[in-house]
């Protein structure tokens, strides 16, 4: 029991001068003043807890909002992407029409900071959170992916963080029964103290099943269901409870939440069953800021009025204070708004799935969110001021003074391989470098088969899921984000991230439709990091408009910074594509001898931020490759047409590591070699290692060659025949030959040696 008197609204009115720990809770003085001004009195402890957490950077986007607006303002207004948008930014996840009455929702989020503190649970609950966002839209989750960034592969702390993160993703996702179909693993010393653990989830529903988070209808009941509320994941509130009100309390509980994937699996089934029985008016998952967020957002999105009896919330720990209950981030909980005559049926479904469910409040006809504790009012606020009308900052930003010097440090000066033997050594070193090495040691810890609709999974260019077994309709998703490029030029880096992700989706034969993004940056209080953020937003918004792929939602993660050292600006861009018949998909593997290898696109001398410059010289400088989005669009058209008309047997995006790395991957995947000829007029090193954009490799059956090259010529896409699938080595004529067995040892041995 709490020893202090309950800080009710009445008590707050009577004791206007009581000092509250607003600074410890992360509020700025002017923010606290604004809370007082909104309420016309000092907040109660519970109200302060709600405002502090809902106005945090994480929940309010107060530093990023002014830049994120561009995604809406510049959103494409025509084309397939714009026409497909059903629900845009602002909801828990965006929703896209994929045809045949189906809609797809997808979103990527970060769980960076918790995953550094506690890798297993941090990564596990990252999956849990994004999955609940998808369920809350009314969709059945069908796949997850994880874009990951770690510190240097050889660093001892990476050996702590990576295995924990991977085990957490596997432990949670496998037990939840969602196939993990892709993602990325990138190493760079800049992520040493700030690993990035992003998680993406895709869900599918019929158009009529789309649900939004709102509490409409006076008298409707608010049902909290799922796990009981415990003391885990209480950030600010434990400061509030322990330092102000009750110094006698036991020590603070863990700030990182603990996940229970079994409970989450039940939550999925139970929620979808309730949706299909048409028992739900509005729904919201409990993630960051727990009940504070769910109640204020539900009320704010509805008519505005809601009453909650906080003492009805089922607890794991009966000693929790009301402030802690409001703040708890215990996982696997959801909140539904249900009409009174449907409550019994809703509770029956919860009982069937053995999910605890409790009516904790109801929608009122007022415009106040009122929360009671043992009959006394401890919160009385306008929910919009908590959920949507938080502070907005125009943070100062400035191009860092080192940017010019960085861009002037051109990789053209670096020594290059001068003969066949040196090219061979460089190709092997690249294929075996941690970033380019096979990640199967990691991805084999994830279930890619469950649900039985996985058509493509890692290491393919994009993951692909069948969503209708009758027609073969499917979706493809890829994520990309090259922090090295973005460091050299954040505007161009964001465009390149979209370009690569878009290309990866098209390479498998799917038509790119929409974008989700996870923007991982340093501190917004550092003008240099803020400039990177502003530039990346501008770049991504421009690029989305040019490619006709609207941003449907996403997430911002700031403060990825240890002391002065910020991470590379890392905009991770996820692209969703649709394919009419997954049987037409194009895989990456060279499978049949005799197929002709074509390189599509133009190769220029572009080594800024390249994998070669990193592996061979530990160098980062110059300018990143140029993003040519018109070219990307054309390339995508060709890849999609070739897939649909069966003109290519394999396609693989050319990106990090250039043509030689792409060739190595396609050869190893299919277990077939290739004989390659350096095209006339190209320097062998530039041909093999440059990272010029807008390129892909394809394997064309001889019977389709004329049709394919005619199509490329007619549409104006350069297509160079560079060789043939053949033998058991990757041979670049006149330069070197790499037996596949040797290549495989290098490519597949690195990660197990480091982490196995």
């Amino acid at each position: 029991m709490s020893s202090h008197p309950l800080d009710t609204v009445k008590h707050a009115e009577q004791t206007p001068d009581t000092a509250l720990p607003w600074a410890e809770l992360g509020l700025k003085e002017d923010e606290y003043d604004r809370v007082r001004e909104i309420l016309g009195r000092r907040p109660t402890g519970a109200e302060l807890a709600m405002y502090s957490v809902m106005w945090s950077e994480h929940c309010s986007y107060k530093s990023s909002k002014v830049h994120l607006r561009q995604f809406g303002e510049k959103a494409p207004t025509e084309g397939p992407g714009a026409e497909a948008m059903l629900v845009g930014i602002g909801e828990q996840a965006g929703v896209v029409d994929v045809g045949q009455g189906y809609a797809v929702t997808f979103k990527v989020e970060s769980h960076n900071h918790p995953s550094y503190v506690e890798p297993y649970q941090g990564a596990a609950t990252g999956i849990g959170g994004i999955v609940r966002d998808i369920i809350a839209m009314g969709a059945r989750p069908v796949a997850v992916m994880d874009p990951l960034r770690f510190g240097a592969a050889e660093h001892p702390d990476t050996k702590r963080v990576l295995p924990g993160v991977v085990a957490g993703i596997g432990g949670y996702g496998n037990c939840l029964g969602l196939p993990n179909i892709g993602g990325e693993v990138v190493f760079d010393p800049c992520y040493q103290g700030n690993p990035l653990v992003n998680a993406l989830c895709v869900g599918v529903m019929k158009h009529e099943d789309i649900h939004l988070a709102k509490a409409a209808g006076t008298g409707n009941k608010v049902v909290l269901y799922g796990a009981r509320t415990g003391g885990d994941g209480i950030g600010g509130a434990s400061i509030l409870a322990s330092e102000t009100f009750d110094a006698e309390k036991p020590s603070k509980r863990p700030a990182v939440q603990v996940g229970d994937p079994f409970q989450e699996k039940l939550l999925i089934e139970c929620t979808l069953e309730a949706f299909h029985a048409d028992l739900v008016v509005g729904i919201q998952d409990l993630g960051a800021a727990g009940l504070s967020c769910a109640t204020s957002e539900l009320a704010s999105n509805g008519s505005g009025g809601m009453q909650v009896e906080l003492d009805t919330v089922p607890l794991r720990d009966s000693s929790l204070s009301p402030e802690e209950i409001l703040m708890s981030e215990s996982q696997e909980r959801m909140c539904a708004v249900v009409e009174p005559d449907k409550v019994d049926r809703f509770l029956e479904i919860c009982e069937k799935w053995e999910v605890t469910a409790t009516v904790v409040g109801e929608v009122t006809d007022g415009d106040r969110l009122e929360i009671f504790w043992h009959g006394e009012k401890i919160v009385d606020v306008d929910p919009r001021t908590v959920a949507h009308e938080g502070p907005v900052y125009e943070r100062p930003y400035a191009r860092p003074d080192w940017q010019d010097a960085l861009q002037a440090d051109d990789p053209a000066e670096l020594p290059r391989p001068a003969n066949g033997e040196e090219l061979r050594a460089a190709a092997l070193a690249l294929a075996g470098s941690p970033n380019q090495a096979a990640k199967s040691w990691i991805t084999d810890q994830y279930d890619r088969y469950v649900l039985g609709d996985t058509v493509l999974a890692q290491p393919e260019d994009s993951g692909m899921i069948r969503i209708d077994a009758e027609t073969g309709l499917g979706v493809a998703v890829a994520t990309d984000g090259n922090g090295r490029y973005a460091k050299l030029d954040p505007y161009e880096g964001a465009r390149l991230a979209l370009a690569e992700s878009y290309r990866n989706v098209a390479a498998t034969g799917a038509r790119p439709l929409a974008v989700t993004d996870c923007l991982n940056f340093g501190s917004p209080e550092d003008p240099a990091a803020m400039w990177q953020f502003a530039e990346a937003c501008r770049g991504l918004a421009d690029a989305c408009r040019e490619l006709g792929t609207p941003v449907t939602g996403g997430n911002v993660s700031l403060y990825n910074q240890t002391g002065e050292a910020a991470i590379h600006p890392t905009p991770v861009v996820g692209v969703l594509g649709v394919i009419d018949d997954v049987a037409r998909r194009t895989p990456m593997a060279f499978r049949d001898e005799g197929h002709l290898v074509y390189l599509l696109g133009d190769t220029r001398e572009e080594f800024g931020g390249s994998a070669w410059s990193q592996v061979a010289h530990g160098h980062l400088g110059g300018r990143p490759p140029r993003a040519d989005l018109e070219r990307e669009r054309l390339l995508a058209e060709i890849l999609i047409s070739a897939s649909r008309d069966g003109m290519v047997d394999a396609a693989h995006d050319v990106s990090d590591g250039g043509v030689v790395q792409a060739l190595a991957e396609s050869c190893l995947k299919g277990g077939k070699g290739a004989r390659i000829v350096v095209p006339d007029g190209l320097d062998p090193f530039v041909f093999l290692f440059s990272e010029s954009q807008g390129r892909a490799l394809v394997a064309v059956p001889r019977s389709e060659e004329v049709r394919f090259t005619d199509m490329c010529a007619a549409r104006g896409l350069p297509a160079a025949r560079i060789g043939v699938v053949d033998g058991e080595a990757l041979e670049v004529q006149g330069q070197f030959s790499l037996p596949l067995a040797e290549l495989r040892r290098h490519h597949e041995g690195t990660i197990p040696e480091l982490f196995g």
Binding site: G171, T443, Q445, L451, V455
Partner: protein, 227 residues
Amino acid sequence: MTTRIGVVTFPGSLDDSDARRAVRIAGAEPVALWHRDGDLRRQQVDAVVLPGGFSYGDYLRCGAIARFSPIMEAVVEQAKAGMPVLGICNGFQVLCETHLLPGALTRNDHLHFVCRDQRLRVENAETVWTADYAGGQEIVVPLKNGEGGYVADERTLDELEGEGRVVVRYLGGNPNGSRRDIAGITNGAGNVVGLMPHPEHAVEALTGPTTDGLGFFTSALKKLVAS
């Protein structure tokens, strides 16, 4: 009359819809069975599949709680009377917990979850669930588990070997430390089979590495139709 093959859903079952799909592709009628409903007769099922997943989260010990569900009482009774029962992955673990099959499944020796396309040899092609294969036939089906190491005492292992009750064996490297590379076993009568690999994920060329897994389901169907 069509052959009805039931697939049990426990809380935490994950590959139940996949098992139902495999049953359908094999030509039988899949029947969803709920763990609380122990009335198998009313459901009129001719065989039962216990699917993969993490029943009850598998927090205590894999399959340890599922064995106490009402439906398992009925499954055990029917299995003893000769009804074909196939346990896949978590289902195999449940069958061991109920003692329909001997031994137990323990944490993989390398301590990681493993998901891979696994080569297997069909050692016994005479069970209800493997009659469509040739003895010694090599197949490839997905394997995905964290606790797939098959263990039993030496005498039991010798008995299994001696009686030809090892149904499938791992080839090309033991993926989890199973004793004697055992991937699946059967009871003495050959109607109850449990295995860690997932034949239901190898029934379509589009989504599986092969279609080698379909034989498990067509085998049972043929036996049932013939009887």
